[in-house]
C-alpha cells in the first residue's frame, strides 16, 4: 500500500533553463576559434549539452548540488566540473548528471506539494510522550 502522503506522480521533466548562463553560444554562434568537436555527422554549430554538478565536500557527507556547466560528453563534464567547482579544495567526489535527466517538481505547485505536512505534528517523534522516562531510549 502506498501511504497517501507520498507523491506518486512526477511533473514532466523541465529543462533547467534558469541555469543556462548568459552568453550561451546558441544565441551568438560559436566563439572565434571554436574547434569542431563531436561525431562527423553533427552540425558544427551544435551547443554542448548542459550538465548538473554535485560535489561531496568530505567523506561521510552527501553530494550537494554545486551548479551546472556545458560539456560535450560525460568524461569531459567530470573534468570541467573538477576545474570549475573544486578549485578551492571544495570536494573529494563529483557527480555529473545530464540536466535533462533531472525531473524537477513544479515551483507553481508549492501549495499542493509541500504545504500538506505543515501542522502534522504526529509525524515527528517528539509528538509522542508515552516513551518518556523509558531507559535507554
Amino acid at each position: 500500500m502506498i501511504p497517501n502522503d507520498t507523491p506518486t506522480s512526477q511533473v514532466p521533466s523541465r529543462p533547467l533553463d534558469s541555469q543556462a548562463r548568459p552568453g550561451n553560444p546558441a544565441a551568438v554562434g560559436p566563439r572565434p576559434g571554436t574547434p569542431v568537436v563531436g561525431a562527423p555527422q553533427e552540425s558544427t554549430t551544435s551547443v554542448w549539452p548542459l550538465w548538473e554538478v554535485f560535489v561531496r565536500s568530505s567523506r561521510g557527507l552527501s553530494h550537494v548540488h554545486a551548479g551546472s556547466l556545458h560539456a560535450p560528453d560525460a568524461a569531459m563534464a567530470l573534468r570541467n566540473a573538477r576545474d570549475l567547482y573544486t578549485r578551492r579544495n571544495e570536494g573529494v567526489s563529483i557527480w555529473v548528471v545530464p540536466a535533462d535527466a533531472i525531473a524537477a517538481s513544479d515551483p507553481d505547485a508549492k501549495g499542493s506539494f509541500f504545504e500538506s505536512p505543515q501542522g502534522k505534528d504526529y509525524r515527528h517523534a517528539t509528538y509522542y510522550t508515552k516513551s518518556e522516562g523509558v531507559k535507554h531510549l
Binding site: G23, P32, T34, P35, V36, G38, V64, R79, D83
Partner: protein
C-alpha cells in the same frame, strides 16, 4: 607573484581563506566550502631560504632555474587563453593549468634565487632574454586550440616523467616541489590526452587541425631530452635526472595516446634548440616584454 617588499615571515597572501564562503549555517555540508589545504607553497620555500634552512648549490639553482623558466613561460602563454577558449569551461581549464604551472615556476624560482639572494620576482621580472633558460617548446605560440593542446600534450607527458623521478632527488626541496607538481601535471596529461582523442576522432576539420598542431610542436620535442654537463653532474649526485633517461617512457606513453587517436607520431626535423644556454627564438622577447612591463614600470609595486 608577490613583490620582494611583501616578503615577511608572516606572509600568508591576502587573508585567511579557511572560512566557508557561505559564512553561517551548515558550512561543513556546503559544496562551496573552501579550505586552503596544507600543501607546500612558494612562500614556505621563501621562508626556508630566508632563514637559511635551505640553500641550493650553484648547480642545483641553475637546474631549478631551467625548470622554473619552462613553467613560467608556459604559464604566460596559457594565460592568454582566458576569454579566448572555445567554451567558458575550457577558459577555466586552461587557466587552472596556467596557474598550476605558475605555482611550479614560483617554487623553482624562489628556490633558485636562494643561491644568489634574489627573489622569485627578481628572477621573473628583471632578467633579460638571454638569461632565461626555458626550452623552445614552452615559448611556441598558442596557435589555434589544437596547437595549444599539442603543446600541452608534449609538455605534460615530459613534465610528468621528470617530476615523477625528481621526487626521489637527493635535494629535499627539489623533491618536495616535484611531489606537489607531479599530481597536478598528471591532470594536465589527462586534459591534453582527452582533447587529442576528441579532436583527432572528431570531424575532418578537427582531425586536420590536430594533425597540424602536432606537426608544428614536434620539432621542439628533441630539446627536452638533451643532456648537458649540468644535468650529468647533478644526475651523478642524485639531485637531478638525465633528460635523455625520460625519453623511452615519454615515447611509449605519448605513442599509446596517439595510437588510440589513430594518429602517427610526427616525423619532423629537430629544431636546433639552445634555450638551456639562453639562445631563444624570436617569440620569447615578446613574451617577456608583456610579462615584465608592469614590474619594470613600477618596481616594487604591490596590490
Amino acid at each position: 607573484m608577490t613583490t620582494p617588499e611583501t616578503h615577511t615571515a608572516e606572509t600568508t597572501g591576502h587573508g585567511d581563506i579557511s572560512v566557508g564562503v557561505a559564512g553561517s549555517g551548515d558550512s561543513s555540508a556546503s559544496a562551496t566550502r573552501i579550505t586552503p589545504g596544507n600543501a607546500l607553497r612558494p612562500e614556505d620555500i621563501a621562508l626556508e631560504v630566508r632563514t637559511g634552512l635551505v640553500k641550493p648549490s650553484e648547480d642545483v639553482a641553475e637546474y631549478a632555474l631551467r625548470l622554473g623558466d619552462d613553467a613560467l613561460i608556459l604559464a604566460q602563454r596559457l594565460g592568454r587563453w582566458i576569454s579566448r577558449a572555445p567554451e567558458l569551461e575550457e577558459d577555466v581549464a586552461l587557466g587552472n593549468i596556467a596557474l598550476d604551472q605558475l605555482g611550479h615556476a614560483r617554487s623553482f624560482l624562489t628556490y633558485a634565487g636562494g643561491a644568489w639572494e634574489k627573489s622569485e620576482d627578481d628572477l621573473a621580472y628583471f632578467r633579460r632574454e638571454h638569461e632565461f633558460r626555458s626550452a623552445h617548446l614552452f615559448e611556441q605560440p598558442n596557435g589555434d586550440f589544437a596547437v595549444t593542446i599539442a603543446r600541452q600534450f608534449v609538455v605534460s607527458y615530459y613534465q610528468f616523467e621528470l617530476y615523477r623521478r625528481l621526487t626521489q632527488s637527493t635535494d629535499a626541496t627539489l623533491a618536495a616541489i616535484a611531489a606537489k607538481a607531479v599530481k597536478e601535471v598528471d591532470y594536465h596529461r589527462d586534459h591534453s590526452a582527452q582533447w587529442i582523442l576528441r579532436l583527432a576522432l572528431g570531424t575532418k576539420e578537427s582531425r586536420a587541425r590536430m594533425t597540424h598542431g602536432l606537426k608544428l610542436v614536434w620539432p621542439y620535442v628533441g630539446e627536452l631530452f638533451v643532456d648537458d654537463e649540468l644535468t650529468t653532474r647533478l644526475a651523478g649526485a642524485g639531485a637531478a635526472v638525465e633528460p635523455s633517461s625520460l625519453k623511452a617512457d615519454f615515447d611509449r606513453l605519448t605513442g599509446e595516446v596517439l595510437a588510440e587517436a589513430e594518429l602517427e607520431v610526427p616525423q619532423t626535423p629537430v629544431a636546433p634548440g639552445g634555450g638551456r644556454r639562453g639562445k631563444h627564438s624570436e617569440h620569447l622577447g615578446y613574451i617577456l616584454a608583456e610579462m615584465q612591463v608592469l614590474a619594470r614600470e613600477h618596481p616594487g609595486a604591490s596590490w
